[in-house]
């Protein structure tokens, strides 16, 4: 207990504040402790969900074929809920507290609600885990979606609602902070606080949809209503199912702006453009819930086209804005300090040994190239016919969440260990290796999932299909070589995840305590606010522009390839 209590100890002044030696922010004890609490809980969810990654991947790699179908779907449900929901949402509450009261230098208001929110979320998360693990026939494993009318235990829907209510309660202190800061003044919030605010609004929208979906299904399961409409449930469910992934996206982008600044010396090249991109998200990104309904009966083509494109690709345009603005912020910040000449000198001379920096930059690159491009391509209603419910879809969301958001959050956790827990890493070499090992292994595993899905049509959500479909001569055995590569790299990715948890927990327990004023090697060369004094026009952004052109070229190539494959098919549709 004393070891845990010591994690929440720092030297504060009489008012409970201290000044961060890296960011220079005035941090109140109350904010810091709740960020630590939500962050640690998230890492526990990561460890639980990550262990199920092992059994799930080793079953889909039919060369090993670890689990029987009777256990596989239970393990898959545990993997999905703990990683896609609990690891992410606990981290996101921490991100809100950083982006709100911490960046603004305030105490955490309504602390009892923060505590109540945490307790409710933990009760909900344990309840969801228990309801999945203890489900008995005729109830089936819910997977992530719990699609009605497949029978799923009512306890699952009830505890999922409890978790969502908890997340709403936990977000209230953040909204109270923003309210107090802006009520009486015309101040413009810092960009990170603004990004966190938009994230919070998107989160509330998602949560309301989730409560509606699960309450509807629960009412049917406990016989309050006689029948349930699968189409209506799907529409409600995907408000939260996709909405939570939009929270991940916005929280991740907010973290990108934050971390590239504090460890990479990035600046904001245009407040106007970056904020406009967040506003575009606010209006349009939740339309993306329709991505899951593109090959459903009963929804018109016009409805699908409007929504899947976020209204003329308003939100995809916003992401492309951040794709330029964030690397350009690094380029401008570093060029102004005279760090790196030529086209890419600013990038090659960056602090690549700092795992926080490397995690963040890999997150940006891999999210964009693997997750973002595939998301837009598979979100075109026609192309979706070739992606829907294949392993390619699973590849897509591992690129966005398991590579993009998870790497950004790895960086954030490592940053918090240094700056809030004030601990040195148990091993700098191992800590530095995390983003490289995890990024590389997970990228290959993700690409193999995409290939298996798009080139071989291997279905998702099945315990076996590649080597054997029981009762049939047919199988997807042509994809066996793809799965040999997938299995090995999935194992390596899981080991890299173990490395992350090991270094994090090890540093918290055994890492040396950093002296006051020690930046722990986090600060960029030349300090945080080194200023060459040049206005933005005088700074070259050639490197970022070249990178973005490469990105657009890859985007166009993937787009054309997918459309080519589609047009080779037999004729379908009116």
């Amino acid at each position: 207990m004393s070891a845990i209590a010591s994690l929440f100890r720092n030297d504060y002044d009489a008012d409970g504040f201290r000044t961060c030696s890296v960011t220079g922010l005035d941090i109140h004890q109350s904010v810091e402790n709740y960020v630590k609490l939500f962050g640690l809980t998230a890492v526990i969810a990561l460890a639980v969900g990550g262990s199920f990654a092992f059994s799930v991947a080793m079953t889909r790699w039919e060369f090993i074929g670890l689990l029987d179908p009777s256990s596989y779907y239970t393990h898959l449900s545990m993997h999905a809920w703990n990683l896609l929901i609990f690891w992410m949402v606990f981290m996101e509450i921490a991100v809100l507290y950083v982006g709100g009261p911490m960046v603004l230098g305030r105490e955490l208001p309504l602390r009892r609600l923060a505590a109540l929110g945490w307790v409710t979320m933990v009760v909900g998360a344990i309840g969801v885990n228990a309801s999945i693990w203890l489900a008995e026939a005729p109830n089936e494993a819910p997977l992530l979606t719990a699609y009605v009318p497949l029978p799923v235990t009512p306890w699952f829907y009830a505890t999922a609602i409890v978790f969502l209510l908890g997340a709403t309660i936990a977000a209230l202190p953040f909204f109270a902070t923003i309210w107090t800061e802006t009520r009486d003044s015309h101040r413009t919030l810092p960009l990170v606080a603004f990004g966190a605010f938009v994230t919070g609004i998107i989160a509330v929208e998602a949560i309301l949809g989730g409560i509606a979906a699960f309450a509807y299904a629960l009412a049917w399961r406990i016989d309050l209503i006689a029948s349930v409409d699968p189409g209506i449930y799907r529409q409600l469910y995907w408000i939260v199912g996709h909405g939570t992934q939009q929270i991940n996206l916005l929280a991740m982008i907010t973290v990108w702006y934050f971390l590239t600044h504090v460890v990479g010396g990035a600046v904001v090249i245009s407040e106007k453009v970056s904020r406009t991109a967040f506003i575009l998200y606010l209006f349009f990104i939740n339309l993306g819930a329709a991505h899951h309904l593109l090959v459903d009966p009963g929804v018109s083509a016009g409805w699908r086209i409007w929504n899947t494109s976020y209204a003329f690709y308003g939100a995809a345009f916003a992401s492309m804005i951040h794709a330029f603005a964030i690397p350009a912020g690094i380029e401008a910040g570093r060029r102004r300090r005279g760090q790196g000449g030529g086209l890419f000198g600013w990038l090659t001379s960056a602090p690549w040994r700092n795992p926080v920096f490397a995690s963040t930059v890999f997150s940006i690159i891999l999210f964009g190239f693997l997750g973002g491009i595939t998301g837009v391509v598979m979100g075109q209603i026609q192309v979706n016919m070739t992606w829907h419910n294949t392993l390619a879809t699973v590849g897509h969301f591992h690129a966005t969440v398991a590579l993009g958001t998870t790497l950004a959050f790895f960086g954030l956790v490592l940053f918090v260990i240094k700056t809030m827990f004030r601990r040195d890493f148990v091993s700098d070499a191992l800590a530095s290796a995390i983003p490289y090992a995890y990024g590389a292994a997970m990228s290959v595993a993700t690409l193999m999932l995409m290939y298996a899905g798009i080139l071989y049509g291997v279905p998702r959500r099945t315990a076996e299909a590649v080597r054997n479909i029981p009762g049939s001569e047919f199988s997807f055995s042509a994809a066996i070589p793809i799965f040999m590569i997938f299995g090995i790299f999935a194992l390596l990715a899981i080991l890299s995840g173990v490395l992350f948890v090991g270094v994090s927990v090890g540093s918290l327990l055994f890492g040396g305590r950093l002296a006051e004023g020690d930046d722990g090697g986090m600060l960029p060369e030349g300090g945080l606010h080194a200023d060459g004094g040049e206005p933005i026009h005088a700074v070259e952004l050639r490197g970022t522009f070249a990178l973005c052109l490469i990105f657009l070229g890859v985007f166009a190539a993937v787009y054309v390839l997918n459309w080519y494959l589609l047009t080779q098919l037999w004729a379908i549709g009116a």
């Binding site: 179908p69 699609y147 600046v267 009966p297 330029f324 070739t386 933005i536 522009f545």
Partner: protein
């Protein structure tokens, strides 16, 4: 230029945007509108669109309809030959009712998709070319009528790719497409 942890200057809205960022905004905007136009246009001129007509139908009624269709169809060793241009497929745990079926290449059929119990995934591909595949969601309560014209003879395999229960992976069906 500002940093993301401080309030920006008062005139932040009027600060000029870097030339290269402006160019990028133009490229990204044009690309966004371009792919929107292509997707919307393809519903008019393209041959592959997940577009059909949906009817609300009670799952039991749909099962009856598939039963009537099976009565009317001609039974062969390779499966049912549909009496007309309508082909009925009923998804159920863990079977594709109405399959296997024998169809003619080059002939347009109206494929009727519906389910008797829970949600299923209708996933079909020719045996010799796995990267040609189409996936559609199937519900109880909806009858989705989608035209399809198989252009090449061969065996087309149908699997379920929406989780429908423990026996889900065994759900397999077949179209045999013969020269028309």
């Amino acid at each position: 230029m500002s940093n993301p942890l401080d309030d920006p200057d008062d005139d932040w809205w009027n600060s000029p945007v870097h030339r290269r960022e402006s160019i990028w905004l133009g490229l990204a905007g044009a690309w966004s509108l371009g792919i929107f136009t292509w997707m919307a246009g393809f519903t008019q001129f393209g041959d592959q669109n997940p577009v059909g007509t949906t009817y609300e139908v009670d799952p039991d009624q749909y099962q009856e309809r598939v039963g009537e269709y099976k009565e009317a169809a001609e039974e062969t060793d390779d499966g049912l030959i549909p009496p007309e241009d309508d082909v009925y497929v009923g998804a159920m745990r863990f079977n594709w009712d109405g399959l296997p079926a024998v169809l003619e290449a080059g002939r347009e059929y109206d494929i009727h998709l519906g389910a008797y119990d829970v949600q299923h995934g209708f996933s079909v591909r020719p045996e010799e070319n796995l990267n040609k595949q189409i996936n559609l969601q199937v519900f109880p309560g909806s009858e989705w009528v989608i035209p399809m014209t198989f252009d090449e003879p061969g065996t087309y395999h149908v699997v379920c790719n929406e989780f429908c229960g423990q026996g889900h992976r065994t759900m397999h069906g077949r179209f045999t497409v013969v020269e028309g």
